[in-house]
Symmetry: D2
Subunit: 343 residues, 4 copies
């Protein structure tokens, strides 16, 4: 079968590899769509994320969906042909964090397309039974692939406890920022302010539900949010950038007693900020790691059209065009938000 | 000025009374619209609610809105002509419950149209400064009068912590039930199931956002909810009836680990229910008393058209027609949900 | 091996039964101590609890502890001789409630000594690996057996969110009531008021940490709690009786905005109460079903002597004396709180 | 009367000033004891805290207690001679934060001994009625003066939601650190680990309830906490230093999914930390600003001897010795933790 294999920095190849077979409790999935995530691009451009280094050729991609193609021995409750989204994390199921309902914090979790585990940008993938999330027919393949990032937004929204009428601010209008924004809107946020440096992303944010947007290269975001809210600032802020500067910006946009959800993954290893701001406002700062138990909510939101995840997808390409898509995303080509690979 | 005065059971008269004058810190309001609440009707039909007995003639009504007509000495931050909704409760501001942000639990609270305090169904009313809630021009007088019951729904929703994708059930499609339903919808509930005995109320519920309705005289509500949810039942249930039978119904509709908000006020003094159901499901049962700090959220929801409170209003009458409206509501006349008196 | 087998109402026999063998993933435990729980007695006196009927002879007992005697194939992380408390519930590990950290709500949970599952009052028992909770040497066998009911108190306390300085009331001074009382004390409750009908139990409660006790047959509990608290009543109330009358008593002892934990299992199938009290106080009523993830906390509390569970044990008997102990407990013999069977 | 007046950096004088008179709603208090707080010292050594600059001579001190000496017009519920602790903050009572129960976040709060408001290190002080917190006779004047810092610990503990059996870590063994430590112990924390650079403070921490202490100049605190907890780290961490280095240390001591309470006020204006640690652990970081509604809890803890605040007091001096005490504290003289001024 064909697969997209990362051999090293900027060295991504479509190759013929052996089609895998499902073992006991496993499922073979015919992959239909895989979103291209920032972490995939980071491996592509740096060959590593922190201490996780690509040492062997690795199939990339973890935002995937497809049809069940075959069942390994002992798999129950699924049939061949069933449409599923793929949960990319395999948690241990036995540690303190798993049994208390926090598998996203499992210390021994394995993750699709994180070395040395292969990912999903290939024609067929073998996954564990519990990674299969059945989806309704109402969802397109694009939408199914977008469930994974949407769940990060759902999890962040759950942690934030957004209430109807809240003012929400979203720092960074990438895919996770849009997910948080749409979830905040679905949770009843009244004013939803999105900031970014790229006008085309802010335009997309407005199209998908932002009531106000701020280009932080042109205007002072704290000043603008103050103006829009009569000085009250935001009840809840979602930090969704990949830069260290996102944290202090987020804390500046939060109102007194506000809640800040830290959903972004900064490229820098060190973050610094004014020490007095968060204390004077008595902020609650909640860091967000992937997601947990958010699939049911995410599917409901997409199936009922209350969030629009298809709107994130700006490019759709076959495996053969994947390398070009990686380059586009890596270089922040104008207009790119989310590319979906169709194996 | 003219006022609607309750003299005894079913004895309600439009009378000429002395126009009041605002004292220090008080505000004279030209009343424009007052909703007719179930508690008003209860005083009309029974002359009392529990230990609160109408001993002297009393002006009724507490869901009111109007324009500032005059300011008493020392009132700041308001001008004549300002449109305001009227907060009907005067809490003490000093007790443990007030200072910890729970004025709705103040033991010495005084309440409009609760004996011996006059209400708002009159041309002019004097209220305390802190009872004035300025409203935007986007709100009609009907909508402004409906903010009071809507806030009960907002408070119940805040206590419930509705999350996007939750399944909500609402027991009783009166005004408070519709308020809870619309707030649950605004908070992202996916499936919203409403039950009642009156088909015209269920029809209105569907029009205003219910995804499913159940006439409990025709179908078993627990069975129907089980069928609709694949046995999972509701994440959160709002009990909004005025009958003791609402409680056990609510607990039956809740799923395992569910949350039940008890917003209704039963006419019966005693409630009884199966002792095992709530324990086996480990339910959280939260009683709801009026509302607190919900005005900002409620105004935002109405002004942005995310909830439709004007849709509750089925009858609009001047003071002269008020008695007839009380009779209609008291007798559950077909098609009546909310009457608004226009003094 | 010897086992205590329930054949029917009041028909309990010490019998020779076949010693079981551990299968894959299972553990053979040499049972050292098993507490006699109210539910065991209920099966003894009624032959059933609700719909759970003893149809075949059944070994009783589920509050157990012992030493690992043998390991089935594939069991890791345990050695023969290891001292363990026994978690009596086997949850499925895969349902929505298990994976979200609420195994106590698993709809398909199996439970030791609930028909048709045998219990622990025997010399050797086979249990699943995950039912073994290793305990430190500091714990006696009596204490280890008491971890199971203590965990109910820990879970109730966790749900209650007891804070230092809170006033707690405990309705019912049986084993679960004492567990809730000791946990509330450990969590910092200042005044801790315990009610019961039996003076010897109230005496034991005072010995174990109650600051005040009330015999509800002699004094009005609400009046007494009002007197002790200056009218403020209790911040948190634990209902721990086996009677329907416990619920309204609990709600009466709670203060405005109070939290009521319903940990008791009423014998009656129907509960009734005043419908206005809980609403006027805006109570939060949280039902409590067994416990979850409380072992670590419970062991820490016992090992550090911050709770005294050995103090609950009033009788210690070998298997041969078990029937007499069941009769004593069933008849509320004077001075009986908890009997421990030593197989 | 005599007062301790700060004229400029290191310029503190005992002076004769005019005895104040209570106005309407005010109370004259004969001050008996005032704790010397780090913020007092900061004004003494720097003449400012951030933007708050001592421009006029100012009486210092805000941790005070005394007897009611006279009542201004209209004051109810107090009598001359009543012993009171003094709440140092005067919040507006009308803003969004005050009415929702968060007066510590009031944007227009005035605070004793913050320019331009005089403090309490004088013989008589005039305060508002609501600043008087009546205390039981069981409390000494030292203890009464310590209620103010203890309440910071109570508030931090309330926000942390410490549960029995939790492992707590406290970074910094000054007065606030000891307050958090004692509150965590009162709330049931099992292992309580305290870190500092000063051995005499760690010795005091052990005396007052720490189970383990770490001198961070001698040992790696994260390594030690890992060793003590079997790698699990702390469930809750209280950051209580006055240095920017406290934040990253705190986050390093927290376990996966842990809660970090930021109660310290760093001298530095900028804090920097590793960007990955808090995200990978999905930490909740809650900043803490003074305290709110903690007096009842604090008094209960002290009166019942469950916390020992008298143990913090290492020096007791009259007004005449105050300057020397300020120097000692400013210079971290060996053995100094808390000095109390006795006017």
């Amino acid at each position: 079968m064909k697969a997209l294999v990362l051999h090293g920095i900027r060295d991504l190849r479509v190759e013929e590899v052996r089609k895998p077979r499902p073992g006991p409790g496993q499922v073979l999935v015919r992959v239909r769509a895989v979103g291209l995530c920032g972490s995939d691009v980071h491996y592509y451009t740096h060959g590593r994320i922190g201490e996780q280094v690509v040492r062997e050729p690795m199939i990339v991609g973890h935002e995937g969906a497809g049809e069940v193609a075959a069942l390994g021995p002992g798999v129950e409750g699924l049939t061949v042909g069933r449409r599923v989204a793929i949960e990319p994390a395999i948690s241990c199921g036995r540690c303190e964090y798993c049994v208390t309902g926090r598998p996203n914090l499992c210390p021994t979790v394995r993750f699709c397309s994180t070395p040395p585990n292969d990912g999903l940008m290939c024609e067929f993938a073998v996954i564990e039974r519990h990674q299969c999330v059945p989806i309704p027919d109402a969802l397109s393949w694009d939408e199914a692939a977008m469930l994974e990032p949407l769940q990060v937004g759902v999890h962040a929204g759950n942690l934030a406890g957004v209430r109807p009428g809240d003012t929400a601010a979203v720092v960074g209008a990438g895919c996770i920022g849009l997910a948080c924004m749409e979830v905040a809107r679905a949770a009843g946020a009244g004013r939803i302010i999105v900031t970014d440096k790229l006008d085309y992303r802010l335009k997309l944010a407005r199209k998908l539900g932002a009531t106000d947007t701020i280009n932080v290269d042109k205007k002072d975001p704290a000043g603008e949010v103050s103006r829009l809210t009569g000085g009250r600032m935001a009840d809840v802020v979602f930090e969704c950038t990949n830069r260290a500067a996102g944290a202090p910006q987020a804390w500046g946009l939060a109102g007194i007693g506000g809640r800040v959800m830290m959903a972004g993954i900064p490229e820098e290893d060190e973050v610094s900020f004014d020490s007095h701001t968060p204390r004077r406002k008595e902020l609650l700062v909640q860091y967000v790691r992937r997601s947990r138990h958010a699939a049911r909510q995410a599917i409901d939101l997409v199936a009922s059209k209350r969030v629009n995840v298809a709107g994130w997808v700006t490019h759709r390409v076959p495996l053969a065009g994947a390398k070009k898509a990686f380059d586009m995303v890596a270089d922040y080509a104008d207009g790119v938000l989310k590319a979906v690979i169709l194996p």
